[in-house]
């Protein structure tokens, strides 16, 4: 109760958070209405494509907040967060694959198509339980958390910091990419999972389901934002910022810097996993390309563009950059990477505090 009051007072105390949450609520409610309740002939109607797009942006926003939490507030530059995102996505994908049932091309009641194609005759042990939604949800959080815990424990305990840590996270992501590419891993190899049918019995192609998914993503984004906000405004949050600014001094005051970093990293990985799980049913596919090291780097660019260390800046950066990506990859696909590079260089040189820095009232680091 005390914690809840604290969290609420923290959220409603600052106007930036309030504005962010209000905007989120407006989009989360309005977009589904404009899609489902407004007839297609009306100029106000939003297509399902747009709903899916906004849902995707919101997933990226959650991922960006997860990265901002550790990078902006604790100075841990993870270049492997796309891996946690992808792991959460795969866990959700496994559930969706099991939901296909006999509707697959080969019509096998238990085995997904790719296993039938590979002439497997039984489900590998690690696929057990994924026909249950609750089990998949637990795994969405647990798998990234476990990986982050083991990786973080080894890295932080050995006092690996700065660029060395970043390189290791890139290597981690790349290793997972190579592993998931292998057909005999049992995760669909190169093709990954696709052709999903339904989620909890609701048709994934229907407008209502898509709108509900968008709403769920908006709610998750709001909750993640609130949780991060609560962490960074607590005393632990101040310790975390102290670690960012003067790690050995913080240790000298008696704080176990390693355990602070570890728990923050694990929490951030879980957030990334949840974002991935929401992403997969909305885009309809998950394959090893999600582990590409470049994806993790892009997340860092979103955060830098929006404004590091503000949380809502990270979310705004993710949505803005991805909107530009959608636009450019549609209109001028060959120039997109140049545009992305130019944005990053431009922001680094001219807006070191990101877009949030343009609004002085928002850019205060508290």
């Amino acid at each position: 109760m005390k914690i809840r009051q604290q969290a609420l007072s923290v959220l409603f105390a600052d106007r930036a958070s309030l504005g962010f949450l209000a905007l989120l609520a407006a989009v989360g409610v309005l977009v589904p209405i404009l899609n489902v309740a407004v007839p297609e002939s009306s100029p106000l109607h939003l297509s399902t494509y747009v709903v899916g797009l906004i849902g995707k942006y919101f997933c990226y926003a959650i991922l960006a907040i997860a990265v901002d939490l550790i990078w902006g507030f604790c100075g841990i530059l993870s270049l492997g967060h796309a891996a946690f995102f992808a792991l959460g996505g795969y866990a959700m994908g496994m559930y969706l694959m099991r939901q296909i049932g006999t509707r697959g091309v080969y019509g096998h009641p238990v085995l997904p198509d790719f296993m039938v194609f590979l002439n497997w005759d039984a489900l590998p042990w690690f696929w057990y339980g994924f026909d249950q939604f609750w089990f998949a949800i637990v795994m969405v959080a647990l798998v990234p958390a476990a990986l982050a815990f083991v990786f973080g424990w080894l890295a932080f305990r050995s006092r690996v910091t700065g660029v060395y840590f970043s390189i290791m996270t890139q290597a981690l992501s790349y290793a997972l990419l190579l592993a998931f590419f292998r057909n005999d891993m049992g995760f669909g190899g190169n093709n990954g999972f696709t052709d999903f049918k339904d989620l909890l019995g609701f048709d994934l192609q229907s407008d209502v389901t898509r709108s509900a998914l968008l709403l769920a993503t908006a709610v998750t984004l709001a909750v993640s934002y609130g949780a991060c906000r609560m962490i960074v405004t607590s005393r632990a949050g101040r310790v975390i910022r102290s670690i960012r600014d003067a790690e050995s001094r913080t240790r000298f005051l008696g704080y176990s810097v390693e355990s602070y970093k570890l728990w923050l990293f694990v929490f951030s990985a879980v957030m990334a996993g949840v974002a991935g799980a929401l992403y997969v049913p909305q885009v309809g596919i998950i394959n090893p390309s999600e582990f590409e090291p470049i994806n993790s780097i892009e997340v860092v660019i979103w955060v830098a563009v929006g404004g590091r260390g503000t949380l809502f800046g990270a979310a705004a950066g993710a949505i803005l950059v991805n909107y530009l990506k959608t636009f450019f990859t549609g209109a001028l696909p060959e120039v997109w990477l140049y545009v992305l590079g130019a944005i990053f260089v431009g922001v680094t040189v001219f807006l070191p505090r990101g877009l949030v820095g343009l609004v002085p009232a928002l850019s205060r680091d508290r």
């Binding site: 607590s234 005393r235 101040r238 600014d245 003067a246 000298f252 008696g254 704080y255 176990s256 728990w263």
Partner: protein, 278 residues
């Protein structure tokens, strides 16, 4: 022994009550003295053949303000390092009170035992406010899960306010520590030490780089701390030492060459030789 009380009600009762009072006083003694004695005995630290400390013997009484001076390389910093556990001596012993053997403790354990050290260069958390800096230094449970939900109790809040008053930064309470002047940062750091409620404070060159006004206020601050805490100040600035010192210890080549009040020390021929050359 002369009875202090006049007109005892009965001889037996008096004897008992006197004995009880004496015993109570005996039991109270350590806390009445507010702290423990720091006792360094024949400490020797060698780096290769060079002896940074050479059978250094020194003690600090509870509540005392001791100034340690000496030319460069006299072993002042090495002495601090030994007390705080950063350097281990080759020989000798270092006790804090009768039963805390400093040579057996790790750095954090020594901090927990009640010895706080302020380094030469002030390191405060620039992006936190003065108040928050003190809050982080608070002697409290420092685990992640505790600090995640911890809120300041009223007594902790009072303690922070008290320290703010001691270091005279009440008006800077909500200011970012990074915006403080050099002197104010030094005071804040002393304040952060005080939050851990140490019995012994080791202060390394507190007035280096300070303006005369700041130096004066620092002197006042250190003097106000003595009594409640034992304070050891290592300093180069002779005028400053003269203004605050009650007892001065002069180190040279890892040994104590003179001890006493400032006047005695200044007139000591060996000290004059060391400081002025022959």
């Amino acid at each position: 022994m002369t009875p202090v009380f006049s007109q005892p009600r009965g001889a037996q009762a008096t004897r008992r009550s006197l004995r009880e009072m004496r015993e109570a006083a005996e039991r109270r003694k350590p806390s009445v003295l507010l702290g423990k004695v720091l006792y360094l005995d024949k400490l020797t630290v060698s780096f290769d053949r060079f002896k940074a400390l050479n059978e250094l013997t020194l003690h600090v009484d509870p509540g005392e303000l001791l100034c340690v001076i000496g030319p460069n390389g006299a072993g002042k910093t090495t002495m601090m390092d030994v007390i705080t556990g950063k350097t281990r001596p080759d020989e000798g012993s270092a006790f804090f009170g009768p039963d805390v053997n400093l040579l057996m403790l790790s750095e954090p354990e020594i901090v927990a035992a009640g010895i706080g050290r302020k380094f030469q260069k002030p390191t405060v958390f620039e992006f936190l406010s003065v108040f928050e800096n003190l809050e982080l230094a608070l002697a409290d449970n420092k685990s992640f899960w505790h600090t995640l939900v911890a809120r300041l109790t009223s007594s902790q809040r009072e303690r922070i306010d008290e320290v703010l008053e001691i270091i005279r930064l009440q008006t800077k309470r909500t200011a970012m520590a990074g915006a403080l002047s050099h002197g104010q940062k030094q005071w804040l750091e002393i304040g952060m030490l005080l939050m851990q409620e140490p019995e012994l404070l080791l202060v390394d060159e507190p007035v280096a780089g300070m303006t005369p006004q700041e130096t004066e206020r620092t002197g006042e601050l250190l003097l106000s701390l003595a009594g409640k805490h034992s304070v050891v100040v290592v300093e180069h600035d002779m005028d400053f030492v003269r203004s605050i010192a009650r007892r001065v210890t002069v180190l040279h080549e890892g040994r104590v060459i003179a001890e006493g009040d400032m006047e005695t020390v200044q007139n000591d021929p060996q000290v004059v030789e060391v400081y002025l050359g022959t």
